[in-house]
């Protein structure tokens, strides 16, 4: 009642009640902002928090997690908080250009090279990863987990029944899908627009190869080149083998088609594996996996990572949090629960299931490329322009226009000046 009275009086005199907020820096708490609010993500965050609490019992962990739309709501909230000069101490972001293009450019996050040196992280993370999360030699975030984007999930029973081998090149894939379609099977399950962008990036990687694919993002590969035209034509052909209701399916619905025997293939990041297990499906019998055709030996990654805010209210506490986030103990606690692998290469494989063990092997040996859909290779503006071009393309199916608008997107928001 008292609270209500208080609210009532404040409401009535709202504009008169101007109050200044004060307070100096204290290190008694750390506010961690993320979009991990449910399922394995939330459980994983709680696991890191536990490690943190044992290590730093004096620092209170404040969990500021906002869900929705693969972090879209969270990013909007974060953007408005940063606009109004109220940053959390540390926040989650997809490692790579999504962070760098947005927050480094805006002067919102601190470089972490000293922390990397002090903790010896450079020795335990893949060499090819570091440039992807750095800008001008500065590393800006601490990756906690690694997901793989270029995974082709398949239904082993359907492939067997139709005498189709797991394809390793785009050409093999296309002919396999032709066979499957002739047999009355939906060859490839696809979902809503972002899963279409996910498919596009893996096809670009598979068709161009990792060197040319990486070059798309630093300006050394021409978006207008004939190799890209070929890749886009292959993308069109691949789309012709997808389910007609793609636009109405979430990624979960689309992935479920494969394990339920309604479709042969699905291209999705390896969080799909966690979903399959939650549905009670068995690896190798209900679902199998392979790199997306043409991308063998390449690990197209995405990673959730944490930053240090410029002007963090509790800078040392935030650094303590980052130290824990990068530690082997925390990563071993987080990743088995979340269904991802450690960014570090020294985690204990025994803690992980059969799929994740294979991903760990690939992570430490494969060439590492970055994902577009999940924020590694392109800044937000660029990505959102590609997204618009793709959306228009999905309606018109005109490769020439699509390629022209991709070239234009790279010129207006990417490195192609």
């Amino acid at each position: 009642m008292k609270r209500i009275l208080l609210l009532v009086s404040i409401g009535l005199m709202a504009v008169m009640l101007l109050s200044a907020c004060g307070g100096g820096t204290d290190e008694s708490q750390v506010e961690v902002f993320s979009w991990w609010t449910g399922g394995g993500e939330a459980a994983g965050l709680a696991a890191i928090q536990e490690v943190f609490n044992t290590e730093y019992p004096d620092i209170e962990f404040v969990n500021a997690a906002v869900a929705g739309g693969a972090g879209t709501n969270a990013r909007a909230v974060l953007a408005t908080r940063l606009q109004s000069g109220d940053p959390p101490d540390t926040w989650q972001g997809h490692a790579g250009q999504e962070l760098i293009g947005t927050y480094v450019a805006g002067g919102q996050i601190e470089p972490l090279n000293d922390l990397y040196e002090a903790e010896g992280w450079l020795d335990v993370m893949p060499d090819t990863l570091i440039p992807l999360i750095s800008q001008d030699g500065n590393i800006y975030s601490v990756p906690v987990n690694i997901h793989r984007a270029n995974v082709l999930w398949y239904n082993p029973a359907i492939l067997d029944a139709n005498g189709v081998a797991v394809p390793t090149t785009v050409a093999e894939w296309l002919s396999a899908m032709e066979t499957l379609q002739a047999a009355g099977v939906t060859p490839l399950a696809l979902g809503e627009q972002w899963t279409q962008m996910h498919l596009l990036e893996t096809v670009l990687l598979g068709s161009l190869g990792s060197a040319a694919y990486d070059g798309l993002w630093d300006g050394s590969t021409d978006w207008g080149s004939s190799a890209v035209t070929t890749a886009l034509n292959e993308f069109v052909e691949i789309l012709s083998y997808t389910n007609s209701d793609a636009a109405s399916l979430s990624w979960q619905d689309a992935a479920q088609l494969v394990v339920n025997g309604d479709a042969a293939f699905n291209v999705m990041g390896d969080w799909a594996e966690g979903y399959f297990r939650e549905l009670g499906k068995e690896p190798m019998t209900d679902y199998g996996w392979a790199p997306v055709p043409g991308s063998g030996g390449v690990f197209q990654f995405l990673s959730d990572s944490f930053t240090l805010a410029v002007g963090a209210p509790h800078p040392s506490a935030a650094e303590a949090w980052l130290k824990i986030a990068g530690s082997r103990e925390a990563q071993e606690a987080f990743n088995p629960v979340k269904g991802s692998i450690c960014a570090r290469t020294d985690c204990d494989p025994e803690l992980f299931g059969v799929y994740l063990q294979s991903a760990m092997d690939d992570w430490s040996t494969d060439h590492v490329s970055g994902s577009l859909t999940h924020g590694v290779v392109a800044n937000d503006s660029w990505k959102s322009e590609i997204d618009t071009s793709l959306g228009l393309f999905m309606a018109e199916m005109d490769v020439t226009t699509f390629q022209a608008s991709l070239v234009a997107a790279c010129e207006s928001s990417g490195p192609c000046q």
């Binding site: 609270r3 209500i4 609210l7 009532v8 404040i10 409401g11 009535l12 709202a14 504009v15 009640l17 101007l18 109050s19 200044a20 907020c21 979009w35 991990w36 609010t37 449910g38 399922g39 394995g40 993500e41 939330a42 404040v62 969990n63 500021a64 997690a65 906002v66 869900a67 929705g68 693969a70 972090g71 709501n73 909007a76 909230v77 408005t80 908080r81 606009q83 109004s84 000069g85 109220d86 979430s250 979960q252 619905d253 479920q256 339920n260 969080w271 966690g274 979903y275 939650e278 549905l279 009670g280």
Partner: protein
């Protein structure tokens, strides 16, 4: 007489058919909220759940209960204060016109129609500038953006009342506030119901302002509901159960105030 009852029977057939249309989505929500995670499948969405376990509801309640309190703390003042302000404004604009009142009314009314997405950034900046964040700031935002519609409702209602009603009060020597309190307020209940229902529904179901203006310990139920869905794998069964729980207070308001709602609309509250 007989033909009349046959006609009525046909009307019932039409009504029931319409009721089915309105209930279909509710049915899907309800059966899904009882299913287990692996049972949730597009192909079997019409099927009844295999068991009638309340697990999803318990799980959802566990996750939603802390924010329930926040929602109540925020919605009650937001609803009451904006209704009170609307009633006062409506009274002044309808019956106590001063010079410029005819300009003030459309000036306030226009606020009803702004797309909220476009004012989010200045809203947050302004709120943090005056130091009003969290539930208080959220309640304030709902109060202010509620003023246009509450003012409109009350003004139209009061404008429809005969001027003699006030003159009688004036002759008795009642002051302006006295007239408001003793003559108009007692007959304003129907309009209050209309406004309360509208404000309660919009404040309770609002997500946009809530997610931007409040911090993690103060989130109302819509944000908590949204947070229940993880970012990658979404348990629709628990989500649907949670959405039923979240809609419960609004449904109760409709059931208890529903009969007055129509009377309020009838009283000219929403007349053009």
């Amino acid at each position: 007489m007989k033909t009349l009852s046959i006609r009525k029977n046909w009307l019932y057939v039409v009504l029931v058919a319409m009721a089915i249309f309105y209930l279909l989505p509710m049915y899907v929500m309800l059966v899904t909220s009882f299913k287990s995670f692996s049972e949730v499948d597009l192909k079997t969405m019409w099927d009844l759940p295999q068991t009638l376990a309340l697990d999803n509801f318990i799980e959802a309640f566990k996750q939603l209960s802390p924010s329930l309190r926040n929602s109540i703390l925020m919605v009650i003042p937001a609803t009451l204060i904006s209704s009170a302000l609307g009633s006062l404004n409506g009274f002044i604009l309808a019956k106590w016109k001063f010079r410029g009142a005819d300009f003030i009314f459309p000036f306030i009314l226009f606020g009803m129609f702004i797309p909220y997405q476009s004012i989010i950034i200045p809203l947050v900046q302004f709120m943090s500038m005056i130091g009003l964040q969290g539930l208080v700031g959220l309640a304030l935002a709902h109060i202010i953006y509620g003023i246009p519609i509450t003012t409109l409702t009350f003004r139209n209602y009061y404008a429809s009342l005969p001027q003699e009603l006030l003159e009688a009060g004036k002759i008795d020597g009642a002051s302006m506030l006295g007239i408001y309190r003793h003559i108009l307020l007692p007959i304003s209940l129907p309009s209050f119901v209309v406004v309360l229902i509208w404000q309660f529904t919009s404040a309770w179901n609002d997500f946009l302002f809530a997610v931007i203006l409040t911090g993690n310990t103060e989130w109302p139920i819509t944000v908590a509901l949204n947070n229940m869905a993880g970012s990658q794998i979404i348990s629709w069964n628990v989500q649907m159960a949670g959405s039923f729980l979240a809609a419960l207070p609004t449904l109760l308001v409709y059931i208890f105030l529903g009969r007055y709602f129509l009377r309020g609309l009838l009283a000219g509250s929403l007349k053009g």
